[in-house]
Amino acid sequence: MERKVLLEQLSNAFGPSGDEGEVRELIAEAIRPHVAELQVDALGNVLARKPGNGYPLRVMLDAHMDEVGFMITYIEPSGLLRFGAVGGLDPRMLPGKRVLAGRSRVPGVIGLKPLHLATKDELTSVTNVQDLAIDIGAEDGDEAGQWVSVGDYAVFHTCFGQLGEAPSDGRSGRVKGKAFDDRVGCAVLVETLAGDYQVEVVGAFTVQEEVGMRGAHVAAFVAEPDLAVVLEGTVADDLPGEEGAPPSTRLGRGPAITLMDRSFVADRRLVDWLIETAEAEDIPYQFKRPNVGGTDGGAVNRSRAGVPTVALSVPCRYIHAPVAVMDLSDFWHTVELLRAALTRLPMAGEIGDGSI
């Protein structure tokens, strides 16, 4: 149950790309008892090391701390806040949503002209980000300026919660919340770091993935791993109207293994390692539809002399939206699969001329 609380805290935390401090503190506190060394680098990545029992193989586990959000670009004389997107925001998702803005986390809403006044065109088209504004209830620009400044961030204001009746085990049932991409990956990584492994493990909680995998570049450079697993909350599109088309992933079918996304090709040896582990341990798994989305894998894979990399994801409906839905059984199966796979290392097989 404790970890569900952590997932709740991580989901609710304020952490858009470049301002991940709140998430970082939660994570540092959670992992400190389980790691030998904890380092925060110049960009804000958390690198947590577990030395293992001396076997010379270093595995990097990556999860990004940042979420998509908003940056205030201009305070209108009326007190409304203009903003830009931080990461990939879907403008269809924005009007009518609640946000928290600025360092004081002042609540606000993204407004839109009411139905009564909208033209036919406006009713059937999507309003661009630059035509929207956040309303924090200020009477004018001066009052708004007491709460927020240009350059402050905002994120969706969504409270984590159970959907339906909560199963008593805390390990199944569906939950809703914001920023499952990638706080669920962070939670999987925290849970995995609590285990003990033969090989050396470096947990990398990275910054700024949503704006171009910037944190992972330097984290991988510093960690110098022999192989890497990127942990994600990924697109589930088992939705109405999608019948016939292959879904990216489905809720409740287990962790999703990446074969290839738009940023990298997963190392087939590592794909097979995860499949073999899942089948041996009787853990459900699925493949994420190839060539969809991008991940920190794109940065880690080509670091230094190259890092064989695979991604493992918890399926989440409605990512990059104010509220996502995930199945806790997928979360726990992901943790189980990763921990079991790490326990199987070192194993027979070849990575270049060396063995893994």
Binding site: D226, L227, A245, P246, L259, M260, F264, V265, A266, D267, R268, V271, F287, R289, P290, N291, N301, R302, S303, R304, A305, G306, V307, P308, I351, G352, D353, G354
Partner: protein
Amino acid sequence: MNDTMKDLVRQLTAVQGPSGYEGLVRDVIRTQVEPLADVVRVDRLGNLHAVVRGQGSGLRVMVAAHMDEIGLMVTHVDEKGFARFTHVGDLWVATLVGNRFVFPNGAVGVVNVEKYEKRPRVENFDKLYMDLGASNGASCPVRVGDVATFDRSFLDLGARWVSKAMDDRLGCSILIEVMRRVGNQTPHEIHFVFTVQEELASQGAMTSAFSIQPDLSIALDVTGSGDLPGATPFPVVLGKGPVVRVSDRTTLVHPGVKGWMTRTAEAKGIPYQLEVIVGLASDAEKMQRSGAGSAVGVLSVPCRHLHTPSEMVDVDDVEHTVELMVALLAGLVDLERVG
């Protein structure tokens, strides 16, 4: 051009190796280069390094040709046994309909488009499917993640050769032939690298260059040609010799390297062509910028019908490219002289 070279190109182009899945190609090349190099190793991403330690105080030179080719990856198999797929590398939808693809397990599929009797204009992969002759999903011989390449054999047209993967098995073949002819008669420490994943983002060249830290790096690849009906004006033609690149979409070639290539060709009486190409990139981009960087050049062979199942090259161009490469690597390099 001797039959050995033709056999090598035929053998190497027949093997399957879409980006990320170059193992079969690597096995064949490894057998070829093992007797020719001082050190042969495979790195973590699967790049094959063959190092020749020359005699003297030359440079550390990296020469790269990529092993991977464009292909398809299965994304879904439906209950009727039809497979859906996505592209590995820059594949062109117009080349797919009606074509056949083969998987390493021997399975072959025919590609078609939904509602093909209406002759729809195909713009994306979502409407395409592959028919492997299976009567249902359970009997379909492939699964999600399996990769396929064009099912086309090598074609010998005498003066010209055609294959599904001239890009860049021809470059790999040329490097092997260059290794044979140069032996250890070079002042340089030469790292012949057969790279992975060029068709994606040159991940292999980037990581190899990081580990080698060369002074000078050369990409050996194929390039387009301007001698086709309706082609965009472009001076490179088949049969007029190897192509010395000046610039492409992502790279400005080191002027000293360009000058060294053209001077050497002129001194040896080898024909060459210059190219400024906007539509292509190569391993050179990543070699130029990896680690502390290196002076970079690109030598390429003109090729018609790039990224189709029938990439065509001229036999004389192949021989002249080998000769120029041998001449370049056998002598000292003066990068200060630009012209």
